[in-house]
Point group: C2
DNA sequence: CAGGATCCTTAGCGATACTG
DNA sequence: CAGTATCGCTAAGGATCCTG
């Protein structure tokens, strides 16, 4: 029996939380915002969720019309994907991402999935508007993504492109480290923790796009 | 106990949910968005939360820098209020409200606090831009609010105003019913479930501001 | 082997009662 | 009024075990 506890409040917020307020629900939505994914891909993207909870959430989200399971639009017949209504959560999820970035850093060991780092890229990046438009191909945790920098924004899409300036293969966590400290790029290339093909300066532009202008830290 | 249940994910969304993802947290933020409130006021606004859970959440939100308790800015010294960072959740909460309004209606008995109906007012209202600017004074569940309709938007503020076109006193749930069915206004006046002073047509404009243009309802 | 279902333990939740 | 204390319940976490 999946969850059925409700806030019993007619407010739109409470009704939204009745649907996506349970644990892990919004992180599943985060993952599916980027691309439809299968059960095992979601497990890999959210390594700390147990399989029963994930199955419960997926069933619940499907029953509530947030995601869809079967084949639709001739896609992967086993992939979970957002419905039209579910996709409307995108601004909310992005807003949460932007807000959470300002949270105090937990000092604990954390994971970082491909979805995490890509959403972070889109949300936190403020690339130099005067820099040349750049297209990077990312091979992140076994999936390929295309990242475009142009006009002060970063856009991520699932899948290949034909016109990349550079290609980068790395673990999500490694890329996260580089985003925090772009100066480690050469070292990472040298020790093989990442692999770059093409124009290295394109990767450098990507990394510097998310360098934030000095966080105020007053408690 | 090592961690008090964290997602252990460096993603901004996960870190946001570590702070406001627990049950009731975002509904507390919803209430405090309108005005600082005391413990008993929050209990009244969220009738289904038990006192220990409310106390836990408030302590947690305070520890995480979302709300503040003591006296600040010469306000009610016992009221909880949002910090500057906490207030930045407003677009997220409003986004959730707008999304949740399109959720299928739960048939169960639901509550409706003053905060609920006021956020709904601000979020769902699309007043006629050609109608005259209107100021209503609302006495809702023992607190006074000022509602302004102007230029196609509705703005709610806590407290009195000096220039109201009309004043309305009602229970939050009664107002919710009227917003769903404005034609019941005369009946409600007659049977005393609401009390109107001043220009009744101002109240009528307020009620019609949220009448939505025919919901699509396809499952 | 992907895609779950089942079992067991723990921690968070809900309701009520109680206290400074 | 502003919370604590207590207790039964249920969801989450973790591992293992089916099933196609």
């Amino acid at each position: 029996m999946p969850t059925s506890r409700s806030y019993r409040d007619s407010c739109g917020i409470a009704r939204a939380l009745d649907v996506v307020g349970e644990r892990w629900a919004l992180l599943i939505v985060r993952e599916l915002l980027l691309t439809p994914q299968r059960f095992s891909e979601l497990r890999h993207a959210l390594p700390h969720v147990s399989s029963n909870v994930l199955a419960d959430r997926l069933r619940e989200l499907e029953n509530n019309g947030v995601i869809r399971h079967g084949p639709a639009e001739a896609d992967d017949p086993k992939a979970y994907q957002l419905t039209e209504w579910g996709r409307k959560l995108e601004p909310v999820v992005r807003g949460l991402a932007g807000w959470g970035i300002d949270a105090p850093q937990p000092p604990e060991p954390t994971s970082l999935s491909a979805g995490s780092v890509l959403i972070f890229l889109e949300e936190a990046a403020r690339p130099d508007p005067t820099a040349p438009p750049t297209v990077c191909r990312l091979d992140l945790g076994g999936r390929v993504w295309t990242v475009r920098l142009a006009e002060g924004r970063v856009q991520v899409r699932a899948g290949e492109t034909t016109t990349a300036d550079a290609s980068l293969r790395a673990e999500p966590k490694t890329l996260g480290t580089l985003l925090a400290d772009p100066s480690a790029l050469e070292t990472a290339c040298a020790d093989g923790s990442i692999a770059v093909v093409g124009d290295l300066s394109a990767i450098r532009r990507l990394l510097h796009a998310v360098t934030r202008p000095a966080q105020p830290n007053s408690p």
